[in-house]
Subunit: 330 residues, 2 copies
């Protein structure tokens, strides 16, 4: 059924029906009510392609995750997408997905009102120029590092430092003085470099001997923890760059005949699913993905609907306290 038939049934003109359906002021309340009820009753839904054609609005944003340039692992991508879908949906926008699995980058930017781009460090200003149709399509970029030099887009910057700072402050509060750092090899978004300063921020002394670039596996974490605890003056707390390393570190500590958190406190990073499942559940650093999604979509919709200037906003990580941290042993 189209609007003509529907209007005929109601004995109204299509103009009035359209106005009622669009919630315009010029239509009388009782007419509007009647139209809405009848539409519901008869199951009349307007053809959205026709609407889009005539209005020029698509009510559609595309979630863009260029291949191999995610900051977010697949697990988090879904969580982010959920958030994006939720707040986009609340504003009447549908979500088109572009994971970049296909070679063809012939993105019909005219079909969407805006872009949410999940960017890794490899994403360049040139890529953004291409993706945004030369900056003409509103876009918000979710980025872990400093934004690329492309001012036509909005940005949501993910800042890992606050959570780590919070973690170290907590350790300091718990009386820890010597904190070991277990890294994951390739410098992860500068965290390794920032660590000494973060320690200082927490009022802790930074001892380079207490830092190990371990690797990716739990076993790497296990070995790193053992090495650290075997030191003449061992740390009483361990910060691991990833939860995977942290879970291994817990094993390592246990193998050395010590307990977590009784003798040694362990803090992880990322809040992977397993972090809550291991024994003891890991205190870890996380970012609130629904918040990220909401901020991104709000930034985007602001420029789509009000034509506002692009914005740059930052969202920090925070500490999730579970049971792998305790007071420093006396």
């Amino acid at each position: 059924m189209n609007i003509v038939e529907f209007a005929k049934i109601l004995n109204l003109s299509i103009g009035t029906v359209s106005r009622a359906l669009n919630d315009r002021a010029e239509v009388s309340p009782k007419t509007r009510k009647m139209v809405l009820e009848k539409a519901e009753e008869l199951g009349f839904v307007r053809n959205s392609n026709a609407r889009r054609l005539v209005t020029g609005r698509n009510c559609m944003i595309r979630l863009e995750c260029p291949h191999r340039t995610h900051i977010l692992s697949d697990q988090y991508l879904v969580e982010l997408a959920r958030g994006v879908e939720e707040v986009a949906g609340d504003n009447g926008y549908d979500l088109l997905l572009h994971l970049g699995a296909r070679r063809s980058d012939a993105v019909d930017v005219q079909d969407v009102d805006g872009l949410v781009i999940v960017a890794g460090p490899e994403l360049t200003a040139g890529d953004l120029l291409h993706l945004t149709n030369g900056g003409r399509t509103p876009a918000v970029v979710i980025v872990g590092t400093a934004p690329p030099d492309f001012p036509a887009a909005s940005y949501v910057c993910l800042d890992t430092l606050p959570g780590v700072r919070e973690a170290l402050t907590r350790l300091a509060t718990l009386g820890h003085r010597r904190v070991g750092y277990i890294g994951s090899g390739p410098p992860g978004y500068g965290l390794r470099d920032a660590f000494p300063q973060l320690m200082a921020d927490a009022g802790l002394h930074w001892d380079p001997d207490l830092a190990i670039e371990a690797g990716l596996t739990p076993d790497d974490g296990r070995r790193a923890a053992r090495a650290l605890l075997a030191l003449p003056s061992p740390p009483t707390a361990l910060f691991a760059r990833t939860d995977v390393l942290a879970s291994g570190a817990v094993q390592g500590v246990t193998e050395m005949g010590k307990t977590v958190p009784g003798d040694v406190s362990v803090i992880g990073h990322d809040n992977i699913e397993a972090a809550a499942l291991v024994n003891p559940p890991l205190t870890t650093v996380a970012i609130n993905l629904p918040d990220v999604a909401a901020l991104a979509v709000e930034s985007l919709l602001a420029v789509i609907t009000t034509g506002a200037a692009p914005t740059v906003r930052t969202l920090g990580t925070h500490l999730i306290v579970r049971r792998s941290c305790g007071p420093a042993p006396v």
Copy 2:
């Protein structure tokens, strides 16, 4: 620029231009070539809303993952979505995402040509009726169990048995006779119930004493492995329902002073990311998600484009051989 302006520049009628762009036969090769080149050069792209309106085709399929009814964890969802996007894209279809994060189920089924539905055991025929607009919108359902009673949809059934059968056959070939089973508590899609038969299929004797319903964490797997190996007549191989359990089992075996795969072989299930990272890398059972995606989209497109009858197809798991399995000790 619209097609009128574009045609004017080319000194052609819009009809000819449209035919050239649609790759119709009635247009002369040189005209077509010219149109295509000029379109590229001038950056002319047809308005797809107008096209959709007039053709009635949306070139859009929606990936539907109703909240909390996934068979696939988030990690795999992305992998599946990649595959769906790839083959859908190859056929000119875009991908709309509906994760079911929003309450509003007012799905405008008229906007898409078909649905790919990822269904968990909770998804009922009634849900499908609703999702498919009363069976009017073509749909393919990816399902781990037996298909719900809703014949209007196509199905891709995920069958976990072949991979497990393959795993047990391999163990039998390697000379193992006693195989322990480490389950994950709630019966996972009937695998627990099917296990004795699968053992028989592989020519192995099934001993109920060698089955433990462990849990979800690595530690559960660790304890289960220790319990199994402490038996008077212990197994020489362990099959774990999940890779998480399997990785814990490896720890447990090691703690008992035995080696993997020297003394005990371990096989996991699911092929999570970590399965390849642990030490030794886990032999495990997996399903080829790109294949699942391809099969699903092909099934769907068949009914969309040719109006064929819905189909039911099954795709089995298979064994991924890594290093956690070896010959049974003599």
